[in-house]
């Protein structure tokens, strides 16, 4: 696994092909959108999808924690699929999660799916976290005064055209002011970076880093202002 160096506000960050971010100076690992217990959430609504999503997500997180040995973990929100998620965890999964968090400083940035602090888990729950020049929040703020921002929420994915057709992968998306992280959870899908809500955050384009097995694949993304603008009226007419 080769991580890609990335600079934001003069800080050196590392983008990992597994879809997490490491900040060496702070020994901090950031992970977005775990959506733990999404399976049991669906089961409650009558769709008995496989209940292994929480353990699968944690099993993918474990080697990253071993590799980077962070002192601090920041979960960028939607860590649980719903407010009751943490209470629904199987005891084996809870034990596994506690072991992963043990001895580290844990921050739960609150998301729209989990607006409350998780039940009986270590760490601090915050609406947003400021650390040095960087701000960690769940949903990016489409405003230049947002500061230098790291966020999740949108589950970005991007396509690159290859000689055998387009290949679509979850991705990081960055410009000079912000970095959008891909969703990490095993049951999380993706939203194309050309979709209006993401385009609105990156009106002048930026750079996408598509996740690969061993490394990231990066490509420039042209300005997306027109996407954010032209799509809006269509949405509006469909509501009327």
């Amino acid at each position: 696994m080769i991580s890609a160096p990335f600079h934001l506000a003069g800080e050196r960050l590392a983008l990992d092909p597994a879809g997490v971010l490491f900040w060496p100076a702070q020994r901090l690992l950031a992970v977005a959108d775990l959506h733990l217990e999404k399976g049991s959430h669906f089961a409650g609504r009558g769709q008995l999808v496989p209940p292994f999503d929480t353990r699968d997500t944690l099993a993918r997180l474990a080697p990253l924690l071993r590799r980077y040995a962070p002192e601090r973990i920041v979960f960028l929100g939607d860590s649980f699929h719903d407010g009751g998620g943490s209470a629904r965890m199987q005891s084996a999964d809870r034990t596994a999660l506690l072991r992963l968090l043990d001895g580290r400083d844990v921050t739960w940035v609150l998301g729209n799916h989990d607006p409350v602090a998780p039940d009986a888990l270590p760490g601090t729950a915050l609406a947003e976290l400021r650390l040095g020049p960087l701000t960690f929040r769940h949903e990016g703020v489409p405003d230049n005064r947002a500061g230098f921002e790291l966020s999740g929420h949108f589950h970005p994915k991007a396509s690159m055209t290859t000689r055998c057709g387009p290949v679509t992968r979850p991705c990081f998306l960055a410009d000079a002011r912000r970095l959008l992280l891909p969703a990490f959870g095993s049951y999380t899908g993706g939203l194309s970076i050309t979709a209006p809500p993401i385009a609105a955050l990156f009106p002048r384009g930026g750079r996408a880093f598509l996740l690969g097995r061993e490394r990231l694949f990066s490509c420039a993304v042209g300005p997306m202002k027109h996407l954010a603008l032209t799509r809006a009226p269509v949405e509006a007419t469909s509501l009327s």
Partner: protein, 843 residues
Amino acid sequence: MGTLPEPFSGWFAARGWVPRAHQLAMLAAAEAGRSALLVAPTGGGKTLAGFLPTLVDLHRDPRPGLHTIYVSPLKALAVDIARNLLTPVAEMGLGIAVETRTGDTPANRRARQRATPPQILLTTPESLALLLSLPDAAALFAGLRSVVVDEVHALAGSKRGDQLALGLTRLSALAPRMRRVGLSATVAHPEAMAAWVAPDADPASVQLVRETGGTPPTLDVILPAGRLPWGGHMGLASMPEVYQKLRGAAVTIVFVNTRAQAELCFQALWRLNDDNLPIALHHGSLTIEQRRKVEAAMAAGKLRAVVATASLDLGIDWGAVDQVIQVAAPKGVARLLQRVGRANHRMDEASSAFLVPANRFEVIECRAAIQAVAAGEVDGEPPRPGGLDVLAQHILATACHAPFHPDALYAEVTRAAPYAALTRRDFDDTLSFVEDGGYALSAYERFRKLFRDSEGLVHPRNGHVVRQLRMNLGTIVDTPLLKVRLRSGPVLGEVEEWFASTLEAGDNFMFAGRLLRYERMEPMSVIVSPGGDGEPRVPAYGGSKMPLSTSLARRVRAILADARQWRALPEPVQEWLRLQRHASELPSRDGLLVETFPRDGRWFLVAYCFEGRLAHQTLGMLLTRRMEHRGLGPMGFLATDYVVATWSAFPPEDMADLFAEDLLGEELEEWMADSSMLRRSFRNIATIAGLLEKNHPGQEKSGRQMSMSSDLIYDVLRRHQPDHILLRATRAEAAAGLTDVGRIGTLLARIRGRITHRALDRVSPLAVPALIEEGREWVAGGVEDALLAEAEALVEEATDGAEHFTGSLGLDPTQPPPEPRSPRERRRRPPRYASRRLRQGVS
């Protein structure tokens, strides 16, 4: 053999008809109380033969209540049969109530039908399944005397057929005096069809009535006046000749193999149409209203020709079609006969049909098809075992009707032929999947869908479970479709979502026989306006092509291997085969010819397997995986109906190893993980089994946020419970149908020790049609990453490193912000388009 009773014999006589032997035989079977299967060619008066016993019985002993259910695979057919049945019923004054019940039947009539059922009800497998899930089904069906299943050959072996077969076991349980009647076109495996119809999966308990008569059709080949194309499947080069045939006949059906081909042929004929002949287009993606209009115009004799896909294979009698033209190779003899039978529709007159091969290989295939028809050979695989996903749906539907005992239900479903070999373990696992998901981790106890009472009877947990089942009943899982709508105009039909997603404003495409310009996307529809310039595209639809049948493939190999048979082929084809003999050699009847040659710095391997496109696609995946293991650096492959070809960095040499039978071991397992085909298969299975909800029109918007991608579920389930019942079902489906793994197994066994490897210095004549084929595949997984790296590197190279990422996007707090980009630069498209331009430059 008896005669018809009055008033039936009088009615027949008044029309100048004589009852056919098979009609009397069907009547005799009914008198004896036996189930029966009628196998007869199209136009044999099959439907009447199916209904006569019912009409005679109800005439003798008029009584209210449901007497006969007729099930047809097509809604339209049910409606049409009702109309045709009403005529004799009225003319003989039989006073029998005949009604239809399909998804289109209004709710008030459906409610009335449950309270006061007609004596004859015409319906579809889906509507029958819904009726059977109702609590009052037992009362409704208790007095049922017979069920007539039309087009059995089209249902048996499909998931709709599985569902119907299970439904029939329910009917037999609810209506013990019910007889079964099957109506089928000529098939390769009549015994298997009889077993399918039988109440106990035993063909011996069904009276098999066969009508073999009928004059064999006259078949001929049409070749283009100009050069015979090397490749392509559209057959457009022959359209002038096809047009001449249309002019010479009163009514023609031009059958094609895909919807895209239908659009293109229709356009081509329209351009040639100097005589302004009324020609219409008919395919499954046009609106139903549009299709009905074309069918009505055809029946009324207002059309000279219809360009049609399989959408016209089944269905009603048109009367006066006097010519059928099949454009592109027919791929299967049974289908060819079905199509040819659309002409004349009378058994005692020869149907006349023309075959229009699209390329050189297809000339040989058409010759093989004509030989097969002359030899009276019909192809087709025996129906495969029933799907466990359909069984899961049936189990839940049965519980919704009334509580059941698992032992009794197991005994019941194994009386259906598709499930005759179902093991108790598979049944129990399917049942436990329906109950609580059947996961190794028992996490969902409190979300169970079914519970068992103290006597062991299984009940649905609540009304929500029942509603959910009724909403998702059925086995047809559509790919996401978007409507094509003219701006402030009518809906023209539907295209697949992925095709729509490739359109950009200003693009134009051909649809419903018109040239359309894409304007914008709205939720659920694509807005278009007429016209547009530039090269139009044609929407393609997944899975619409049928692979070459095994028996046709055998005949093609036989023709290639035997130079004496070449004389029947046109001169350019003979010349082509002679060239091949000179440059390499021809594939033998039973062995495998493999050619390798260098080209563009890569090594090509072409294997002439003739096992059909689906099997070749799977074989291509397996072969490239093995090449990867052997360090040959495979880069991609392509699959046609005739060959599979790969290209790699290093020359493949050990063919016995590459094509060894253990290819179906480790490589198959690995491939399962990545195959997009298996993922699609899993999605359908998970939807039918009730794990995923179907998309319902209108609900789409809210549904999208709530739904979960089946790919994610597939990956997680594979990692944590690889033997879960749904994954077992997916593997079984891959082996039996979709991916033709079975055919690969037979091939590998056949060619062992019989592989001829020719190392050539350039491409051989026989390989050319394959190598200019569109739609190349590449190896998913590792190679997908290689492709990404390649695309990334190309952009870097083309932009002289200006696009190279150095780890920073500027804007350091210690630095001033960068200048805003110029407006021109800002309008630049996202890079995926940029790299597409690059790709065109490179390939």
